[in-house]
Every structure is written in C-alpha cells, then in structure tokens.
C-alpha cells in the first residue's frame, strides 16, 4: 500500500516510516495539515496515518478537510492516551482505527492490514 504519514514530530514519522517500509509499504510524509493536503493531492495514498495533536490544525480537522475533498480517503489515527473525545470524533467521521502511542510496529501494521482488507472488500 501507499501510505501518507502525517505527524509534526520527525521522530514519529521516522518510527512509522521504518515500521511501514519493513512491512513492505510505500511511505510519503507530511508534518502538518497544509503539507498533508498537498501530499494527498500529489500522491493519492491508499491510507493516511494521522497524528491528532499538531501545532495549528489538529489531526481530526485535517482528516475532515481531506474527507470533504476525497470521500474515499482512509485514515488511521495515531494518538497519545487522553484524547478520547478527539478519537471518538475521528471514528465517528470515518477513521478506520486508532493506534495509541507508544505503539509497537506490529500494531501499526495490524491497522494497515485492517485497511487493506477494507479496500479489498470494497473493490
């Protein structure tokens, strides 16, 4: 799958990239909402992993903006604990899964596999 990793923290982008590339996926990155909109338009990823707490627009708002433009866009939210209302909001607005930080690489790959299964079922 082609994935867009959206996270303001370079460290988390690196961790996610390493896990996803090892899992055989292609990865593009964005560090904020604006970059995410541009990267999505350019790369049309199969799945977006979205951080929730970011400076400026938070991940749930970015997800909503992307879904307005691309209704088929698929999202997995990555969040620290304690952001339940944002996670609930994200799931209510179509996020497939959420992964709580700190996460093991297997957990993010499991979420991607879930998205892959959804894509396969839809096509």
């Amino acid at each position: 799958m082609k994935l867009l990793v959206v996270d303001d923290a370079a460290f988390m982008r690196m961790m996610l990239r390493n896990a996803l590339v090892r899992g055989g996926h292609e990865v593009v990155e964005a560090s904020n909402g604006e970059e995410a909109l541009r990267a999505y338009a350019e790369h049309r990823p199969d799945l977006v992993t979205m951080d929730i707490t970011m400076p400026g627009e938070d991940g749930v708002s970015v997800m909503k903006s992307l879904r307005e433009r691309y209704p088929d866009a698929r999202f997995v939210m990555c969040s620290a604990m304690g952001q339940q209302h944002l996670v609930v909001d994200a799931l209510a607005n179509g996020a497939i899964d959420f992964v709580v930080k700190p996460f093991k690489p297997e957990r993010i790959l499991e979420a991607v596999a879930k998205a892959e299964a959804m894509v396969a079922k839809a096509s």
Binding site: A10, F11, M15, A80, G82, Q84
Partner: protein, 160 residues
C-alpha cells in the same frame, strides 16, 4: 490545609501517579528514587494541559539519561547528541506522558487536553513556576533518575 490547596495537592498526586505509570508504559520500570538522589536538570520536557485543570507537567533528565531513552524508543543504540531528531523523540515522550495524565484527569471527571511538547536543554537549568503550586517527584528508571513535575490550577469548587 485550606480546601483548595488540599484539592490541588490531591490532583497533583493523581497526575504524578499517572506520569509514573506512563514511564512504565514506555518500558522504563520506574520506582521512587532513594532519598539523597540528585534530581537531574539538563534536559527538560514540558507539556501544557488545558481544560478544567490547566497548567503544565514536566520531565527532567540528565543528558545521558535522555539520550538513552531515545535509544530505547528506537530499539537502537543511544544517539550521541541531542539533535533535532532526539529532541523530537523526547517531545513524543512528553506527549505520551501527558496523554496518560489527561486520561487520569478525565477519569476524575475533569476535561483535559494536551498541548504540543517543548524540549529545553542545557547545563544547570532551573525551573521556576511563579504563582502556581508546583509538585514534584523523583523516580529512578532504567535510564537513570527522572524528575516529574506538575503545576495545575485547580477547578473552582462547586457550591452545593
């Protein structure tokens, strides 16, 4: 002890317990440090808390401890320098710890959100928090001592 002060102390205890548990979740197996352990103060991670209880939490490390923690998170050897990537990793530690804290505040019936972490490093740092009670706890972890701090403005007592 006045009621508001007692509530603030109770809240701080909840926050410090949650922060200690978060260090365990990160694989640091923390326990209260022995009396006389020197509090580290070379790398300071601060995260704002907003909502019904507002303020900050902090984690302070010795430089070597902070570098070891980054290595631990990466399942790799510790980096040699506190470069941008290492500081970004420490910011994520702040994010994760603050997330645990916010969850515990939620369980206490308080709305809480977390801000974007800030990482400050240098020699002989000193943290002053005017006009707000500041509570701290020193814990011993797999990467050495970590000083946890919290200063939260307590909610106004509800008249019954």
């Amino acid at each position: 002890m006045p009621l508001r002060q007692a509530l603030a102390a109770t809240l701080a205890g909840v926050v410090l317990d949650a922060a200690t548990q978060a260090l365990d979740a990160l694989g640091l197996s923390s326990e209260e440090a022995a009396v006389g352990t020197e509090a580290p103060m070379e790398v300071l991670v601060m995260v704002g808390i907003t909502g019904d209880a507002t303020g900050n939490i902090s984690l302070a490390f010795a430089r070597e401890g902070a570098l070891s923690l980054v290595g631990l998170l990466m399942n790799d050897t510790a980096p040699e320098h506190l470069d941008d990537l290492a500081c970004s990793g420490l910011g994520e530690v702040g994010n994760i710890v603050a997330g645990h804290v916010a969850t515990q505040l939620n369980l206490q019936g308080l709305a809480a959100d977390i801000g974007v972490p800030m990482v400050i490093h240098g020699e002989h740092l000193s943290l002053q928090v005017p006009r707000r009670p500041w509570y701290s706890r020193l814990v011993q972890t797999a990467v050495g001592p970590v000083a946890l701090g919290v200063g939260l403005a307590q909610p106004e007592p509800v008249a019954t």
